[in-house]
Protein backbone atom coordinates (compact mmCIF):
# COMPACT_ATOMS: atom_id res chain seq x y z
CA UNK A 1 0.00 0.00 0.00
CA UNK A 2 1.11 3.51 -0.65
CA UNK A 3 2.24 5.65 2.22
CA UNK A 4 -0.27 7.80 3.98
CA UNK A 5 0.25 11.55 4.07
CA UNK A 6 -1.63 12.73 7.12
CA UNK A 7 -2.67 16.36 6.73
CA UNK A 8 -5.52 16.48 9.22
CA UNK A 9 -3.80 17.39 12.48
CA UNK A 10 -6.62 19.73 13.38
CA UNK A 11 -8.92 16.69 13.55
CA UNK A 12 -6.59 14.74 15.79
CA UNK A 13 -2.92 13.90 16.22
CA UNK A 14 -1.05 10.71 16.98
CA UNK A 15 0.16 10.23 20.51
CA UNK A 16 3.91 10.77 20.58
CA UNK A 17 6.08 7.88 21.64
CA UNK A 18 7.40 9.80 24.63
CA UNK A 19 3.88 10.67 25.66
CA UNK A 20 2.80 7.05 25.48
CA UNK A 21 5.81 6.03 27.51
CA UNK A 22 4.92 8.54 30.19
CA UNK A 23 1.41 7.08 30.32
CA UNK A 24 2.23 3.39 30.36
CA UNK A 25 3.15 2.88 34.04
CA UNK A 26 -0.20 4.25 35.12
CA UNK A 27 -2.23 1.60 33.34
CA UNK A 28 -0.81 -1.56 34.79
CA UNK A 29 1.57 -0.68 37.61
CA UNK A 30 0.86 2.58 39.38
CA UNK A 31 -2.83 2.16 38.80
CA UNK A 32 -4.07 3.29 42.21
CA UNK A 33 -7.04 5.60 42.57
CA UNK A 34 -5.54 9.01 43.38
CA UNK A 35 -8.18 9.51 46.05
CA UNK A 36 -7.09 6.44 48.00
CA UNK A 37 -5.08 7.09 51.13
CA UNK A 38 -2.62 4.19 51.09
CA UNK A 39 0.91 4.81 49.93
CA UNK A 40 0.50 2.62 46.84
CA UNK A 41 -1.84 5.26 45.41
CA UNK A 42 0.56 8.11 46.08
CA UNK A 43 2.27 7.62 42.71
CA UNK A 44 -1.01 8.27 40.94
CA UNK A 45 -1.81 11.19 43.12
CA UNK A 46 1.59 12.71 42.68
CA UNK A 47 1.53 12.19 38.92
CA UNK A 48 -1.87 13.84 38.80
CA UNK A 49 -0.67 16.86 40.72
CA UNK A 50 2.52 17.14 38.70
CA UNK A 51 0.47 17.05 35.53
CA UNK A 52 -1.70 19.80 36.92
CA UNK A 53 1.40 21.84 37.66
CA UNK A 54 2.83 21.33 34.18
CA UNK A 55 -0.38 22.40 32.53
CA UNK A 56 -0.86 25.34 34.86
CA UNK A 57 2.63 26.52 34.11
CA UNK A 58 2.06 26.02 30.38
CA UNK A 59 -0.73 28.59 30.34
CA UNK A 60 0.46 30.82 33.17
CA UNK A 61 -2.22 29.66 35.61
CA UNK A 62 -2.23 28.46 39.21
CA UNK A 63 -2.43 24.73 39.87
CA UNK A 64 -5.76 25.12 41.56
CA UNK A 65 -7.22 26.80 38.50
CA UNK A 66 -6.78 23.64 36.42
CA UNK A 67 -9.68 21.17 36.24
CA UNK A 68 -9.32 17.95 34.32
CA UNK A 69 -12.19 16.92 32.08
CA UNK A 70 -13.00 14.10 29.67
CA UNK A 71 -12.65 16.21 26.52
CA UNK A 72 -12.41 19.68 25.07
CA UNK A 73 -16.12 19.48 24.46
CA UNK A 74 -16.81 18.83 28.13
CA UNK A 75 -14.60 21.79 29.05
CA UNK A 76 -16.59 24.04 26.70
CA UNK A 77 -19.91 22.78 28.01
CA UNK A 78 -18.82 23.16 31.60
CA UNK A 79 -17.45 26.67 31.13
CA UNK A 80 -20.58 27.92 29.45
CA UNK A 81 -23.26 26.08 31.37
CA UNK A 82 -21.35 26.39 34.63
CA UNK A 83 -21.01 30.17 34.37
CA UNK A 84 -24.60 30.42 33.21
CA UNK A 85 -25.79 28.63 36.30
CA UNK A 86 -23.49 30.37 38.75
CA UNK A 87 -24.15 33.88 37.49
CA UNK A 88 -27.78 33.58 36.55
CA UNK A 89 -28.77 35.95 39.32
CA UNK A 90 -26.53 38.57 37.73
CA UNK A 91 -27.87 38.17 34.24
CA UNK A 92 -28.86 35.87 31.44
CA UNK A 93 -27.00 37.22 28.45
CA UNK A 94 -24.08 35.51 26.73
CA UNK A 95 -22.04 36.73 23.79
CA UNK A 96 -20.35 34.34 21.39
CA UNK A 97 -19.51 34.33 17.69
CA UNK A 98 -20.91 32.70 14.60
CA UNK A 99 -17.72 30.76 13.97
CA UNK A 100 -17.42 28.82 17.22
CA UNK A 101 -17.01 25.07 17.41
CA UNK A 102 -20.26 23.17 17.84
CA UNK A 103 -19.30 22.40 21.43
CA UNK A 104 -19.75 26.09 22.16
CA UNK A 105 -22.58 26.81 19.74
CA UNK A 106 -24.72 23.89 20.82
CA UNK A 107 -24.12 24.62 24.49
CA UNK A 108 -25.28 28.18 23.82
CA UNK A 109 -28.32 26.97 21.92
CA UNK A 110 -29.15 24.71 24.84
CA UNK A 111 -29.04 27.72 27.14
CA UNK A 112 -31.24 29.69 24.78
CA UNK A 113 -33.90 27.03 25.26
CA UNK A 114 -33.50 27.53 28.97
CA UNK A 115 -34.10 31.19 29.38
CA UNK A 116 -30.78 32.65 28.30
CA UNK A 117 -30.25 35.17 25.58
CA UNK A 118 -27.29 34.66 23.27
CA UNK A 119 -25.73 37.13 20.85
CA UNK A 120 -23.83 35.53 17.98
CA UNK A 121 -21.27 38.05 16.77
CA UNK A 122 -20.57 38.42 13.08
CA UNK A 123 -17.11 37.98 11.69
CA UNK A 124 -15.47 39.77 8.80
CA UNK A 125 -14.43 38.15 5.54
CA UNK A 126 -11.29 36.81 7.22
CA UNK A 127 -13.21 35.34 10.10
CA UNK A 128 -12.32 37.92 12.74
CA UNK A 129 -15.01 38.98 15.18
CA UNK A 130 -16.28 42.48 15.07
CA UNK A 131 -14.96 44.19 18.20
CA UNK A 132 -17.26 47.17 17.84
CA UNK A 133 -20.23 44.86 17.67
CA UNK A 134 -18.86 43.05 20.70
CA UNK A 135 -18.64 46.29 22.68
CA UNK A 136 -22.09 47.43 21.71
CA UNK A 137 -23.57 44.01 22.48
CA UNK A 138 -22.49 44.06 26.11
CA UNK A 139 -25.30 45.00 28.42
CA UNK A 140 -26.09 44.93 32.12
CA UNK A 141 -27.25 41.35 31.90
CA UNK A 142 -24.18 40.07 30.05
CA UNK A 143 -22.39 37.48 32.17
CA UNK A 144 -20.09 35.77 29.68
CA UNK A 145 -18.22 36.34 26.46
CA UNK A 146 -17.08 33.10 24.82
CA UNK A 147 -14.93 33.53 21.73
CA UNK A 148 -12.63 30.86 20.42
CA UNK A 149 -8.88 31.41 20.33
CA UNK A 150 -8.31 30.01 16.85
CA UNK A 151 -10.80 28.62 14.44
CA UNK A 152 -10.66 24.90 13.72
CA UNK A 153 -11.74 25.23 10.11
CA UNK A 154 -10.15 28.35 8.72
CA UNK A 155 -7.41 28.83 11.31
CA UNK A 156 -8.14 32.48 12.00
CA UNK A 157 -6.77 33.64 15.34
CA UNK A 158 -9.02 36.08 17.17
CA UNK A 159 -7.82 39.26 18.91
CA UNK A 160 -7.98 37.54 22.28
CA UNK A 161 -6.07 40.17 24.22
CA UNK A 162 -8.38 42.92 22.98
CA UNK A 163 -11.43 40.87 23.83
CA UNK A 164 -9.95 40.17 27.26
CA UNK A 165 -9.46 43.88 27.81
CA UNK A 166 -13.00 44.70 26.77
CA UNK A 167 -14.38 41.94 28.99
CA UNK A 168 -12.40 43.18 31.95
CA UNK A 169 -13.40 46.79 31.43
CA UNK A 170 -17.01 45.84 31.33
CA UNK A 171 -16.80 43.35 34.20
CA UNK A 172 -17.85 40.36 32.12
CA UNK A 173 -16.23 36.92 32.28
CA UNK A 174 -14.33 35.77 29.22
CA UNK A 175 -14.04 32.15 28.12
CA UNK A 176 -11.99 31.06 25.16
CA UNK A 177 -11.98 27.68 23.45
CA UNK A 178 -8.24 27.28 22.94
CA UNK A 179 -8.44 23.70 21.71
CA UNK A 180 -6.81 24.52 18.38
CA UNK A 181 -4.37 27.06 19.75
CA UNK A 182 -2.55 25.18 22.51
CA UNK A 183 0.84 24.00 21.37
CA UNK A 184 0.81 26.24 18.31
CA UNK A 185 0.71 29.77 19.65
CA UNK A 186 1.72 31.16 23.05
CA UNK A 187 -1.13 31.20 25.55
CA UNK A 188 -0.90 33.02 28.86
CA UNK A 189 -4.18 33.51 30.64
CA UNK A 190 -3.10 36.54 32.60
CA UNK A 191 -1.42 38.27 29.75
CA UNK A 192 -4.52 37.69 27.64
CA UNK A 193 -7.08 38.44 30.31
CA UNK A 194 -8.87 35.14 29.92
CA UNK A 195 -11.02 33.87 32.81
CA UNK A 196 -11.86 30.42 31.46
CA UNK A 197 -10.13 28.39 28.78
CA UNK A 198 -10.69 24.98 27.21
CA UNK A 199 -8.00 22.50 26.16
CA UNK A 200 -8.17 19.08 24.51
CA UNK A 201 -5.28 16.61 24.79
CA UNK A 202 -5.48 14.95 21.40
CA UNK A 203 -4.88 18.11 19.41
CA UNK A 204 -1.24 18.40 20.46
CA UNK A 205 -0.01 14.78 20.35
CA UNK A 206 -1.65 13.81 23.63
CA UNK A 207 -4.35 11.21 24.12
CA UNK A 208 -8.01 11.44 23.18
CA UNK A 209 -10.66 11.62 25.87
CA UNK A 210 -9.00 14.08 28.18
CA UNK A 211 -9.18 17.84 28.42
CA UNK A 212 -8.78 20.77 30.76
CA UNK A 213 -10.92 23.59 31.87
CA UNK A 214 -8.93 26.47 33.25
CA UNK A 215 -11.04 28.66 35.52
CA UNK A 216 -9.54 31.70 37.21
CA UNK A 217 -9.74 31.36 40.95
CA UNK A 218 -12.11 34.28 41.20
CA UNK A 219 -14.66 32.58 38.95
CA UNK A 220 -17.55 30.96 40.74
CA UNK A 221 -17.99 27.75 38.87
CA UNK A 222 -20.70 25.27 39.68
CA UNK A 223 -19.98 21.63 39.03
CA UNK A 224 -21.27 20.27 35.75
CA UNK A 225 -20.62 16.57 36.37
CA UNK A 226 -21.64 15.88 39.94
CA UNK A 227 -20.14 13.04 41.93
CA UNK A 228 -17.23 12.31 44.21
CA UNK A 229 -14.96 14.97 45.65
CA UNK A 230 -12.43 14.95 42.81
CA UNK A 231 -11.11 18.18 41.28
CA UNK A 232 -11.79 20.07 44.49
CA UNK A 233 -15.38 18.92 44.53
CA UNK A 234 -16.10 20.45 41.15
CA UNK A 235 -15.85 17.50 38.76
CA UNK A 236 -16.79 14.04 39.91
CA UNK A 237 -15.30 10.86 38.49
CA UNK A 238 -12.16 8.84 39.06
CA UNK A 239 -9.35 10.74 37.42
CA UNK A 240 -8.03 9.42 34.11
CA UNK A 241 -4.46 9.34 35.41
CA UNK A 242 -2.71 7.93 32.32
CA UNK A 243 -4.63 10.30 30.06
CA UNK A 244 -3.87 13.30 32.24
CA UNK A 245 -0.20 12.39 32.52
CA UNK A 246 -0.05 11.97 28.76
CA UNK A 247 -1.71 15.31 28.11
CA UNK A 248 0.72 17.08 30.43
CA UNK A 249 3.70 15.40 28.81
CA UNK A 250 2.39 16.35 25.39
CA UNK A 251 2.00 19.95 26.43
CA UNK A 252 5.47 20.03 27.86
CA UNK A 253 6.91 18.68 24.61
CA UNK A 254 4.82 20.96 22.44
CA UNK A 255 5.84 24.07 24.34
CA UNK A 256 9.50 23.09 24.40
CA UNK A 257 9.98 23.64 20.68
CA UNK A 258 6.87 25.57 19.80
CA UNK A 259 8.61 28.59 18.39
CA UNK A 260 10.80 26.69 15.93
CA UNK A 261 8.20 24.15 14.99
CA UNK A 262 5.54 26.77 14.41
CA UNK A 263 7.91 28.74 12.23
CA UNK A 264 8.67 25.61 10.23
CA UNK A 265 5.01 24.79 9.75
CA UNK A 266 4.17 28.38 8.92
CA UNK A 267 6.67 28.27 6.11
CA UNK A 268 5.26 25.02 4.76
CA UNK A 269 1.76 26.41 5.12
CA UNK A 270 2.55 29.47 3.05
CA UNK A 271 4.42 27.41 0.52
CA UNK A 272 1.60 24.97 -0.12
CA UNK A 273 -1.01 27.69 -0.10
CA UNK A 274 0.82 29.64 -2.75
CA UNK A 275 1.46 26.59 -4.87
CA UNK A 276 -2.21 25.66 -4.83
CA UNK A 277 -3.46 29.15 -5.60
CA UNK A 278 -0.93 29.37 -8.40
CA UNK A 279 -1.80 26.03 -9.97
CA UNK A 280 -5.56 25.89 -9.52
CA UNK A 281 -7.83 28.55 -10.95
CA UNK A 282 -10.98 29.64 -9.16
CA UNK A 283 -9.47 28.90 -5.79
CA UNK A 284 -9.39 31.17 -2.76
CA UNK A 285 -7.83 31.06 0.67
CA UNK A 286 -10.28 31.11 3.54
CA UNK A 287 -9.37 32.74 6.82
CA UNK A 288 -7.00 35.54 7.63
CA UNK A 289 -3.79 35.41 5.57
CA UNK A 290 -1.51 36.20 8.53
CA UNK A 291 -3.56 36.01 11.71
CA UNK A 292 -3.98 32.28 11.34
CA UNK A 293 -2.72 29.09 12.91
CA UNK A 294 0.71 28.13 11.63
CA UNK A 295 -0.57 24.76 10.47
CA UNK A 296 -3.86 25.60 8.80
CA UNK A 297 -4.63 26.00 5.12
CA UNK A 298 -8.23 26.24 4.01
CA UNK A 299 -9.00 26.74 0.35
CA UNK A 300 -12.29 26.80 -1.53
CA UNK A 301 -12.40 25.47 -5.06
CA UNK A 302 -15.36 26.76 -6.96
CA UNK A 303 -17.67 24.38 -8.82
CA UNK A 304 -16.71 21.28 -6.92
CA UNK A 305 -17.94 19.58 -3.82
CA UNK A 306 -15.78 18.79 -0.84
CA UNK A 307 -16.53 15.15 -0.15
CA UNK A 308 -15.72 14.07 -3.68
CA UNK A 309 -12.47 15.94 -3.42
CA UNK A 310 -11.58 14.27 -0.14
CA UNK A 311 -12.34 10.81 -1.44
CA UNK A 312 -10.14 11.33 -4.44
CA UNK A 313 -7.33 12.66 -2.28
CA UNK A 314 -7.81 9.69 -0.01
CA UNK A 315 -7.34 7.40 -2.98
CA UNK A 316 -3.94 9.03 -3.38
CA UNK A 317 -3.17 8.36 0.28
CA UNK A 318 -3.75 11.93 1.42
CA UNK A 319 -5.80 12.56 4.56
CA UNK A 320 -7.46 15.94 4.58
CA UNK A 321 -10.79 17.30 5.58
CA UNK A 322 -13.45 19.59 4.36
CA UNK A 323 -14.31 21.33 7.60
CA UNK A 324 -14.25 19.99 11.08
CA UNK A 325 -13.95 16.25 11.44
CA UNK A 326 -16.76 15.92 13.89
CA UNK A 327 -19.26 17.36 11.47
CA UNK A 328 -18.04 15.51 8.43
CA UNK A 329 -21.09 13.28 8.80
CA UNK A 330 -23.21 16.37 8.50
CA UNK A 331 -24.57 17.63 5.22
CA UNK A 332 -24.85 21.27 6.06
CA UNK A 333 -22.26 23.53 4.57
CA UNK A 334 -19.80 24.79 7.15
CA UNK A 335 -21.31 27.48 9.36
CA UNK A 336 -17.86 29.04 9.49
CA UNK A 337 -17.56 29.43 5.73
CA UNK A 338 -21.06 30.82 5.52
CA UNK A 339 -20.23 33.26 8.30
CA UNK A 340 -17.27 34.65 6.36
CA UNK A 341 -19.67 35.27 3.52
CA UNK A 342 -19.08 32.41 1.11
CA UNK A 343 -22.12 31.41 -0.90
CA UNK A 344 -23.43 27.96 -0.28
CA UNK A 345 -21.93 26.23 -3.31
CA UNK A 346 -18.47 27.65 -2.74
CA UNK A 347 -18.59 26.79 0.93
CA UNK A 348 -19.30 23.26 -0.18
CA UNK A 349 -16.08 22.92 -2.08
CA UNK A 350 -13.52 23.65 0.54
CA UNK A 351 -10.46 21.76 1.59
CA UNK A 352 -8.77 22.03 4.95
CA UNK A 353 -5.28 20.73 5.39
CA UNK A 354 -3.64 20.99 8.76
CA UNK A 355 0.05 20.30 9.08
CA UNK A 356 1.87 18.55 11.86
CA UNK A 357 5.32 17.73 13.09
CA UNK A 358 5.67 14.95 10.54
CA UNK A 359 4.76 17.16 7.58
CA UNK A 360 7.47 17.83 5.02
CA UNK A 361 7.90 19.96 1.96
CA UNK A 362 7.74 16.78 -0.08
CA UNK A 363 4.29 16.09 1.31
CA UNK A 364 3.23 19.55 0.17
CA UNK A 365 4.46 18.84 -3.34
CA UNK A 366 2.73 15.48 -3.42
CA UNK A 367 -0.49 17.13 -2.33
CA UNK A 368 -0.34 19.80 -5.00
CA UNK A 369 0.48 17.24 -7.66
CA UNK A 370 -2.49 15.11 -6.66
CA UNK A 371 -4.82 18.03 -6.24
CA UNK A 372 -4.52 19.62 -9.67
CA UNK A 373 -5.91 16.75 -11.77
CA UNK A 374 -8.54 15.90 -9.15
CA UNK A 375 -9.96 19.38 -9.22
CA UNK A 376 -9.96 19.27 -13.01
CA UNK A 377 -11.73 15.94 -13.07
CA UNK A 378 -14.39 17.09 -10.65
CA UNK A 379 -14.93 20.33 -12.47
CA UNK A 380 -15.43 18.42 -15.68
CA UNK A 381 -18.20 16.58 -13.90
CA UNK A 382 -19.80 19.67 -12.46
CA UNK A 383 -22.96 21.23 -13.86
CA UNK A 384 -21.80 24.52 -12.38
CA UNK A 385 -18.57 24.71 -14.31
CA UNK A 386 -18.70 25.92 -17.87
CA UNK A 387 -15.33 26.49 -19.41
Amino acid sequence: MKETIYLDHAATTPVKQEVLEAMLPFFTESFGNPSSIYSFAQDSKQALEEARETIAKGIGALDREIYFTGSGTEADNWAIKGVAESYRSKGNHIITSKVEHHAVLHACEYLEKNGFEVTYLDVDADGIVDLEQLKSSIKDTTILITIMFANNEIGTVQPIREIGRIAKERGVLFHTDAVQAIGHVPVDVNDLGVDLLSISGHKFYGPKGVGVLYARKTVKLKAFIHGGGQERGRRGGTENVPGIVGMAKAMELALADMEEESARQRELRDYVKERILEKVPYARLNGHPEKRLPNNVNISFRFIEGESLLIMLDMKGICASSGSACTSGSLDPSHVLLAIGLPHEIAHGSLRISLGESSTREDMDTLVEALVPIVEKLRAMSPLYED
Partner: protein
Protein backbone atom coordinates in the same frame (compact mmCIF):
# COMPACT_ATOMS: atom_id res chain seq x y z
CA UNK B 1 -17.78 3.94 4.11
CA UNK B 2 -18.94 3.30 0.56
CA UNK B 3 -19.39 -0.06 -1.12
CA UNK B 4 -16.97 -1.12 -3.83
CA UNK B 5 -19.65 -0.55 -6.45
CA UNK B 6 -20.15 3.01 -5.27
CA UNK B 7 -16.43 3.63 -5.35
CA UNK B 8 -16.23 2.14 -8.83
CA UNK B 9 -18.99 4.36 -10.19
CA UNK B 10 -17.56 7.33 -8.36
CA UNK B 11 -14.07 6.98 -9.75
CA UNK B 12 -15.15 5.83 -13.20
CA UNK B 13 -18.50 7.44 -13.70
CA UNK B 14 -20.46 6.11 -16.68
CA UNK B 15 -22.21 8.52 -19.02
CA UNK B 16 -20.68 11.61 -17.52
CA UNK B 17 -20.96 14.67 -19.71
CA UNK B 18 -23.49 16.58 -21.76
CA UNK B 19 -25.67 15.94 -24.80
CA UNK B 20 -25.91 18.78 -27.27
CA UNK B 21 -29.44 19.51 -28.37
CA UNK B 22 -30.77 17.05 -25.82
CA UNK B 23 -34.45 16.13 -26.04
CA UNK B 24 -34.82 16.66 -22.33
CA UNK B 25 -32.71 18.28 -19.64
CA UNK B 26 -33.45 18.26 -15.93
CA UNK B 27 -31.55 20.03 -13.18
CA UNK B 28 -32.38 19.57 -9.54
CA UNK B 29 -30.94 20.72 -6.27
CA UNK B 30 -30.99 18.88 -3.01
CA UNK B 31 -32.57 20.84 -0.20
CA UNK B 32 -30.75 18.78 2.35
CA UNK B 33 -27.19 19.37 1.25
CA UNK B 34 -27.47 21.91 -1.52
CA UNK B 35 -25.90 19.65 -4.13
CA UNK B 36 -26.93 19.80 -7.77
CA UNK B 37 -27.47 17.26 -10.54
CA UNK B 38 -28.31 17.64 -14.22
CA UNK B 39 -29.44 14.88 -16.59
CA UNK B 40 -29.55 15.06 -20.38
CA UNK B 41 -31.71 12.71 -22.45
CA UNK B 42 -31.75 11.71 -26.11
CA UNK B 43 -35.10 10.06 -26.79
CA UNK B 44 -36.22 8.28 -29.91
CA UNK B 45 -39.56 6.48 -30.26
CA UNK B 46 -40.15 6.80 -26.57
CA UNK B 47 -36.89 5.02 -25.86
CA UNK B 48 -33.94 6.60 -24.09
CA UNK B 49 -31.20 6.29 -26.65
CA UNK B 50 -28.60 8.22 -24.75
CA UNK B 51 -28.27 9.78 -21.35
CA UNK B 52 -25.61 11.91 -19.71
CA UNK B 53 -25.20 13.57 -16.36
CA UNK B 54 -23.29 16.28 -14.55
CA UNK B 55 -23.17 16.32 -10.80
CA UNK B 56 -21.96 18.72 -8.17
CA UNK B 57 -22.19 16.54 -5.12
CA UNK B 58 -20.76 13.92 -2.88
CA UNK B 59 -19.41 10.52 -3.80
CA UNK B 60 -22.82 8.95 -3.42
CA UNK B 61 -24.37 11.57 -5.67
CA UNK B 62 -21.85 10.93 -8.42
CA UNK B 63 -22.22 7.17 -8.12
CA UNK B 64 -26.00 7.24 -8.15
CA UNK B 65 -25.98 9.57 -11.15
CA UNK B 66 -23.73 7.14 -12.93
CA UNK B 67 -25.75 4.09 -11.97
CA UNK B 68 -29.08 5.75 -12.75
CA UNK B 69 -27.95 6.63 -16.25
CA UNK B 70 -26.78 3.06 -16.77
CA UNK B 71 -30.12 1.71 -15.62
CA UNK B 72 -32.28 3.90 -17.88
CA UNK B 73 -30.26 3.66 -21.04
CA UNK B 74 -32.26 1.80 -23.66
CA UNK B 75 -35.37 1.80 -21.53
CA UNK B 76 -38.71 3.30 -22.48
CA UNK B 77 -39.80 6.44 -20.73
CA UNK B 78 -42.30 4.41 -18.73
CA UNK B 79 -39.72 1.88 -17.68
CA UNK B 80 -37.35 4.65 -16.74
CA UNK B 81 -39.97 6.26 -14.54
CA UNK B 82 -40.33 3.05 -12.61
CA UNK B 83 -36.74 3.11 -11.47
CA UNK B 84 -36.73 4.38 -7.90
CA UNK B 85 -33.90 5.79 -5.90
CA UNK B 86 -34.03 2.63 -3.80
CA UNK B 87 -33.42 0.55 -6.92
CA UNK B 88 -30.41 2.70 -7.80
CA UNK B 89 -29.04 2.39 -4.29
CA UNK B 90 -29.57 -1.34 -4.37
CA UNK B 91 -27.78 -1.64 -7.68
CA UNK B 92 -24.86 0.05 -5.93
CA UNK B 93 -24.91 -2.50 -3.10
CA UNK B 94 -26.43 0.02 -0.78
CA UNK B 95 -25.59 3.45 0.55
CA UNK B 96 -24.77 4.65 4.07
CA UNK B 97 -27.89 5.80 5.84
CA UNK B 98 -26.86 9.44 5.79
CA UNK B 99 -26.42 9.19 2.03
CA UNK B 100 -29.81 7.80 1.04
CA UNK B 101 -31.04 11.29 0.25
CA UNK B 102 -28.32 11.60 -2.39
CA UNK B 103 -29.89 8.84 -4.43
CA UNK B 104 -33.09 10.83 -4.49
CA UNK B 105 -31.23 13.46 -6.42
CA UNK B 106 -30.73 11.02 -9.29
CA UNK B 107 -34.37 9.97 -9.32
CA UNK B 108 -35.55 13.56 -9.30
CA UNK B 109 -33.12 14.71 -11.97
CA UNK B 110 -34.27 11.90 -14.23
CA UNK B 111 -37.91 12.81 -13.66
CA UNK B 112 -37.15 16.44 -14.32
CA UNK B 113 -35.43 15.56 -17.61
CA UNK B 114 -38.36 13.42 -18.67
CA UNK B 115 -40.76 16.21 -17.71
CA UNK B 116 -38.75 18.58 -19.88
CA UNK B 117 -38.86 16.12 -22.75
CA UNK B 118 -42.61 15.72 -22.34
CA UNK B 119 -43.18 19.48 -22.19
CA UNK B 120 -41.14 20.07 -25.30
CA UNK B 121 -43.03 17.41 -27.18
CA UNK B 122 -46.51 18.09 -25.85
CA UNK B 123 -46.73 14.65 -24.30
CA UNK B 124 -48.71 14.06 -21.13
CA UNK B 125 -47.25 11.36 -18.94
CA UNK B 126 -49.58 10.07 -16.32
CA UNK B 127 -48.41 10.49 -12.77
CA UNK B 128 -45.41 12.59 -13.66
CA UNK B 129 -45.26 15.73 -11.59
CA UNK B 130 -43.47 18.91 -12.54
CA UNK B 131 -40.04 19.11 -10.90
CA UNK B 132 -39.97 20.76 -7.53
CA UNK B 133 -37.68 23.63 -6.91
CA UNK B 134 -36.03 21.61 -4.23
CA UNK B 135 -36.30 18.09 -3.11
CA UNK B 136 -37.95 18.03 0.25
CA UNK B 137 -38.14 14.88 2.18
CA UNK B 138 -38.74 13.59 5.62
CA UNK B 139 -35.87 13.57 8.06
CA UNK B 140 -34.74 10.01 8.07
CA UNK B 141 -32.43 10.57 10.97
CA UNK B 142 -33.60 9.97 14.44
CA UNK B 143 -34.15 12.73 16.87
CA UNK B 144 -30.89 14.51 17.29
CA UNK B 145 -30.45 16.97 20.01
Amino acid sequence: MYSEKVMDHFTNPRNMGEIENADGVGTVGNAKCGDIMRIYLKVENNVIQDVRFKTFGCGAAVATSSMATELVKGKTIQQALEITNAAVAEALDGLPKAKVHCSLLAEEALHAAIWDYAQKNGIVIEGLEPPKEDIHEEEEDEDED
